[in-house]
């Protein structure tokens, strides 16, 4: 019987995209990552993520509560690394590209609505992505259950490329996912962005 392997690709897939796990996508082991559901060595994913940031019109980082709030020293260090990554992306892209750093401070449903210019809510992440025309984003410091929900909504309703910098076992529903995220790992990604500066074709205007 001929089967087609499911790939986690930018959407819009449809209103209710399947959970990637239910389509056979497995999480990477330590030292690995996944790209579109394919398990790869972590360095390969670092390069791919850096290329993705450099080729996007609006490369964006969405830091979640686990880094936005200084729960402990590690969280504060990760926040510092996230800022460093953002500043690096800003330095390495062309003036036509518009990097953004948009927080997800908590998960409560907000009424009457969120302000998509300044924040993202996991229950309707597409609003922020549509409003800012974000075509590549990275989740970092978002609790897994909320990240899974958001990543699926994004895949269902937008064409945004999603990257997960997960502190646990990674996310099947992201197009590219790291696992065991630390401040050092985030800084390594920043190094990759620096290294690839000028070698990636910027997006067409």
């Amino acid at each position: 019987m001929k089967t087609t392997r499911y790939e986690v690709l930018p959407g819009p897939e449809h209103f209710l995209p399947p959970a990637a796990a239910s389509m056979g996508i497995r999480l990477p082991d330590p030292g690995q990552a996944h790209i579109h559901g394919r398990i790869v060595p972590e360095e390969e994913a670092m390069e791919a993520a850096a290329r993705q940031f450099l080729s996007a019109k609006v490369p964006t980082i969405f830091p979640g509560p686990l880094v936005l709030w200084a729960w402990n020293e590690k969280a504060a260090q990760k926040a510092k690394a996230v800022r460093e990554l953002y500043e690096t992306i800003k330095e390495c892209v062309t003036p036509a590209q518009r990097p953004m750093l948009i927080p997800m401070p908590d998960y409560r449903p907000k009424y009457p609505k969120i302000n998509p210019e300044i924040e993202i809510n996991p229950n309707h992440p597409n609003l922020t992505i549509w409003h800012n025309k974000i075509d590549t984003c990275m989740f970092v410091g978002v609790h897994c259950h909320q990240a899974n929900l958001s990543l699926k909504i994004i895949r269902g309703g937008t064409n945004c490329y999603t990257i997960a910098m997960c502190a646990q076992a990674g996310h099947e529903d992201a197009m590219l996912s790291f696992r065991d995220a630390t401040a050092e790992k985030i800084l390594r990604l920043a190094e990759w962005v620096k290294k690839l500066k000028g070698s990636v074709k910027p997006p067409e205007e």
Binding site: W69, R83, P103, Y111, N115
Partner: protein, 302 residues
């Protein structure tokens, strides 16, 4: 949980929405004399709410949140009703319980907190509507009082089931005709304050929320008594302006009308002897503190 623990990572402070920055910079947590006068200046007292325009419940919510003496170590337990729409906006720990179960949930919670944090003050406050308190949850409400559970029960009494369209509730007054109760209420309003007193509550108040300073005093007393002695009950009239055919700006007058001496929300208070002693002690300390502050100020001026 200490308020010092809730800090924004310095490297990402600038990207946080203003409401979160204000929450950590200017919140009233830890402020000893916090009260209703902080409303309008402190974000955790609800900047926006999802209730109807002019809803007296939104006033009551604000006054209560402003009056909690120990908000960073308070857990509120809510139940199904209009109140459950507001809790997502509130920066106080809260649990939403199954309809009517609020006092059972609060009982377990209070006991667990006492075991987990011995020697630390942890207040539990139940806030539910009249349907959850008197009709669906009456068993849980009364059993918690019988057991002398040390937490405060606040009932937002709007005298009907408001957010489902106006069905009859036990708290509805006799003869009242609601949208979903066209024949009119055939029985008297349940006298829960009296039942609370007989069930072992040490501090019981029945009033409206037309006077913020009064609400502040009542809530603080109820929390202090529950913390030290036993169950307390506060019944607040928060009329549903939509269901009684009033306009947005008429909620306050409705409450004023309902608190006249002969009306059903005339101020009523019951304090047990034990609670009286405690409140007198607190008042004396407060007086001492004020006198000392005055003296200090006079010394500075001289």
């Amino acid at each position: 949980m200490s308020k010092e623990r809730i800090q924004i990572s310095p490297d990402l402070f600038d990207i946080m929405p203003a409401e979160y920055q204000d929450l950590v910079r200017r919140a009233t947590y830890g402020k000893e004399d916090r009260g209703w006068k902080d409303i309008g200046m402190a974000k955790e007292l609800i900047e926006e709410h999802s209730l109807c325009a002019g809803c007296p419940e939104s006033m009551a919510f604000r006054y209560i949140l402003a009056s909690l003496p120990n908000p960073e170590d308070t857990v509120m337990v809510g139940s199904t009703g209009c109140t459950s729409l507001v809790f997502p906006h509130v920066a106080v720990h809260n649990i939403h319980s199954l309809f009517g179960n609020q006092n059972a949930v609060a009982s377990g919670l209070k006991r667990a907190l006492s075991l987990r944090f011995p020697g630390k003050i942890k207040d539990v406050v139940v806030l539910a509507g009249d349907g959850a308190t008197v009709d669906i949850g009456l068993d849980m409400t009364l059993q918690a009082w019988f057991r002398q559970e040390k937490f405060t029960t606040i009932c937002f009494d709007n005298e009907l089931y408001a957010n489902t369209g106006g069905q009859e509730s036990g708290m509805m007054r006799k003869g009242f005709v609601a949208k979903m109760a066209p024949a009119g209420k055939m029985f008297e309003k349940v006298r829960l304050p009296e039942i609370a007193r007989e069930s072992g509550c040490h501090y019981v108040v029945n009033c409206t929320v037309s006077k913020p300073n009064l609400v502040e005093k009542v809530i603080k007393n109820a929390v202090y008594v529950a913390r030290e002695i036993g169950p307390t009950y506060v019944q607040l009239y928060t009329p549903c302006i939509l269901e009684i055919g009033k306009n947005s700006m008429e909620g306050l007058q409705e409450m004023r009308d309902a608190e006249r001496p002969t009306e059903r929300f005339a101020y009523k208070e019951y304090i047990s002897d034990q609670a009286k002693e405690l409140l007198a002690e607190i008042a004396a300390k407060e007086k001492e503190k004020k006198a000392a502050a005055k003296k200090q100020l006079a010394g500075k001026e001289a």
